[in-house]
């Protein structure tokens, strides 16, 4: 097994008296989809925000290729190769696909002008690589479907050098067909072999379809982890509901 690109050791994050993460370990390997599962409030969001440099860990370490690293800002994290695709995608609906693709990192000529034509071509080609042939990169993002927006955000993160791609519930709020489109995109990125994907989801089926490795969070702790083939469906369902047995839940429900 190759070295993990990103490792997290004993990560603790407290907000005042509230402990959001109580010692999390995580290893993410290139060319793998690492599904991060957990109920609402399990700490998934805090974990990815810490990895993305939005929050600073209270205790514990983040290692990039084995070297302890500190992220003081989202910029640090993205310089270290961590590309985060948030649920809201950080896209501007009124702007064109190209303007969004290069937002904040425009290609400029020595005279300070944007190399618009080149930018259009790159935006088109990068999206084509992971599965969308978008004919007109000058059209507004507002006209795209949810799945296409995901693809745009993912293509953008990869183009700007992401080695770890964090996808925050990319399939939620999408229709069935578009969900499949996003899963295909994830598979295509995985195929490249050099990018590690952290796939955050609520959806058991989706994580089964593309996940190579699973980590389950509940109340800020890792309650289960392992490769896909090591975890049975029953076990998975138990872990997803925060560690409670299905039987217990049935009993609880029946008693109401």
């Amino acid at each position: 097994m190759a070295e993990p690109y990103l490792s997290v050791r004993g990560l603790v994050k407290r907000f005042g008296p509230f402990t959001a993460l109580a010692g999390v370990d995580l290893d993410v390997y290139p060319g793998e989809v690492h599904a991060l599962l957990g109920d609402n409030g399990a700490g998934k969001s805090t974990l990815i925000k810490t990895l993305a440099g939005v929050h600073q860990p209270t205790e514990g370490q983040i290692l990039i290729e084995g070297k302890p690293t500190e992220f003081r800002s989202p910029r640090d994290a993205s310089a270290a190769g961590i590309g985060t695709v948030y649920q809201d995608l950080a896209l501007n609906q009124l702007l064109s696909v190209t303007r969004n693709f290069f937002m904040g990192r425009e290609l400029i000529s020595p005279l300070g002008t944007m190399r618009t034509k080149e930018m259009n071509e790159i935006a088109h080609n990068e999206m084509l690589k992971i599965g969308i042939d978008f004919s007109d990169p000058t059209q507004a993002v507002g006209t795209m479907s949810g799945g296409q927006r995901q693809t745009l955000a993912i293509a953008r993160a990869i183009y700007f050098g992401a080695k770890v791609l964090i996808l925050d519930e990319p399939t939620s709020a999408l229709g069935q067909k578009q969900q499949m489109g996003v899963l295909k995109t994830i598979k295509r990125v995985r195929q490249r072999g050099d990018i590690a994907i952290i796939f955050i989801t609520h959806n058991e089926i989706h994580s089964r379809l593309v996940g190579d490795r699973f980590t389950f969070l509940a109340l800020g702790k890792v309650i289960g982890a392992g490769a896909s083939e090591e975890i049975s469906d029953t076990e998975m369902r138990r872990l997803m509901s925060g560690g409670a047995e299905m039987g217990d839940l049935k009993q609880e429900l029946a008693s109401i």
Binding site: S78, G104, I108, T113, M114, D133, D136, A140, T143, G181
Partner: protein
């Protein structure tokens, strides 16, 4: 590709369809209607040599501040302090010209007075911008506060230094200062030279047939009247106000920045969704502060042109100008919510507003206050139209 069909659900349109969907199409149509209506109602007087000069003067004046207001609105903020900033800058320049530089540093030259004033107004713009980005307060409240602050400050300074809230009868600096000439003088004299040259040629070529009555001859001349066949007889116009050049420069730079530069992308991104812009590394705060300073710069240019054109200034200058600038930007297709709009639309809006504001001079039977009635109506219509555009683009319901 399986997703191909989905992406191409957006209909490919022809040239006409694309043109009709451009954000400035509404303001363009309104502008054409106004031009035609005004030309007819004023019997061509609005666009004869003098009429054109006067109209262009007010169009440029409004266009200068509207451009500043528009860029700021595209970045999602707006500035109510434009009018008082004009009054403050006008006061500052006029008082320096009359009473000399501050701290007894001697006589002021027009350029020096402008430079010192610009430093002050840019500092105010910087301050406004910083307060807004640091506090997260709405720009409406902060710039409203500066509306009162600057109006009051202008009057206080006038009374303290000048004992009177107006400075008038300054010498005509245009004759002695190159800078004053560039701000308050005239430009594009060649345009009128050409105009009158053509007029003379056409006039000379008029064919009066022997059987024409005297009235018929006069009719023929009047029909060509807007060409001012005899320049000396009608009026003597030698060029446009220098403001026109400044309007062209400012609008040109704004257009270039928005469409061709990285900064332009940052301005759009900031106004559309500042959180996502920030997440992508756009320096949102700096963009906003810079644009508040640009708005102050436009107000200063407005005031400088005014002072050196009229050789006077008073505390009531720039009244309502902030509202007119915002109205022009909105009519020009800029969304109140930011992130969308073009400079071309703002130019169309400025032309429309300038013509209507001036219409009373060319149509004697019209009450000047219809201007505001018109503005109110068009503004409301524009907001509805813009809202439709926004929904169409964002796919909203």
């Amino acid at each position: 590709m399986s997703d191909r069909s989905e992406s191409d659900r957006l209909k490919q349109e022809g040239w006409l369809g694309r043109t009709l969907r451009r954000p400035e199409i509404g303001s363009f149509i309104v502008m054409v209607v106004i031009i035609v209506a005004l030309a007819m109602a004023s019997e061509g007087k609005a666009f004869n040599a003098l009429g054109l000069k006067n109209n262009v003067a007010i169009i440029s004046q409004l266009g200068i501040i509207a451009t500043g207001a528009a860029l700021l609105m595209i970045a999602g903020e707006f500035d109510l302090s434009i009018g008082p900033m004009i009054a403050f800058a006008g006061m500052s320049i006029a008082i320096m010209m009359k009473w000399g530089l501050p701290f007894g540093l001697g006589e002021a030259t027009p350029f020096l007075a402008f430079l010192i004033t610009l430093c002050m107004t840019l500092a105010f713009g910087w301050l406004i911008g910083n307060i807004i980005v640091r506090s997260g307060l709405s720009s409406f409240i902060v710039t409203l506060a500066f509306w009162f602050f600057l109006r009051g400050l202008t009057e206080v300074c006038f009374r303290l230094i000048n004992q009177n809230t107006n400075v008038s009868g300054l010498p005509d600096y245009k004759e002695t200062s190159w800078f004053a000439e560039q701000m308050g003088g005239e430009v594009f004299g060649w345009f009128y030279d050409a105009w009158f040259w053509i007029g003379t040629k056409v006039g000379a070529g008029l064919e009066f047939t022997a059987d024409m009555s005297r009235d018929a001859k006069i009719d023929l001349i009047t029909q060509l009247g807007f060409l001012n066949i005899n320049r000396k007889m009608e009026q003597w116009v030698t060029g446009f106000d220098a403001r026109l050049l400044w309007f062209i420069i400012i609008a040109g730079v704004a257009w270039f920045v928005l469409n061709r530069t990285q900064l332009g992308n940052w301005i759009y991104a900031t106004g559309d969704n500042q959180d996502s812009a920030r997440a992508n590394g756009v320096p949102v705060d700096q963009v906003k502060i810079g644009l508040f300073m640009f708005s102050a710069f436009c107000a200063t240019i407005f005031a400088t042109c005014q002072v050196f054109d009229t050789n006077s200034s008073d505390a009531a200058k720039g009244m309502f100008k902030e509202l007119e600038a915002i109205a022009i930007a909105v009519v020009g297709g800029i969304l109140m919510t930011g992130g969308f709009g073009t400079i071309l639309g703002v130019i169309f809006g400025a032309v429309t507003f300038g013509l209507v504001a001036n219409a009373v001079f060319f149509i004697p039977w019209i009450d000047g206050s219809w201007f505001r009635v018109f503005v109110g109506t068009v503004l409301l219509a524009a907001v509805f139209a813009n809202e439709r555009i926004r929904k169409r683009i964002t796919g909203g319901i």
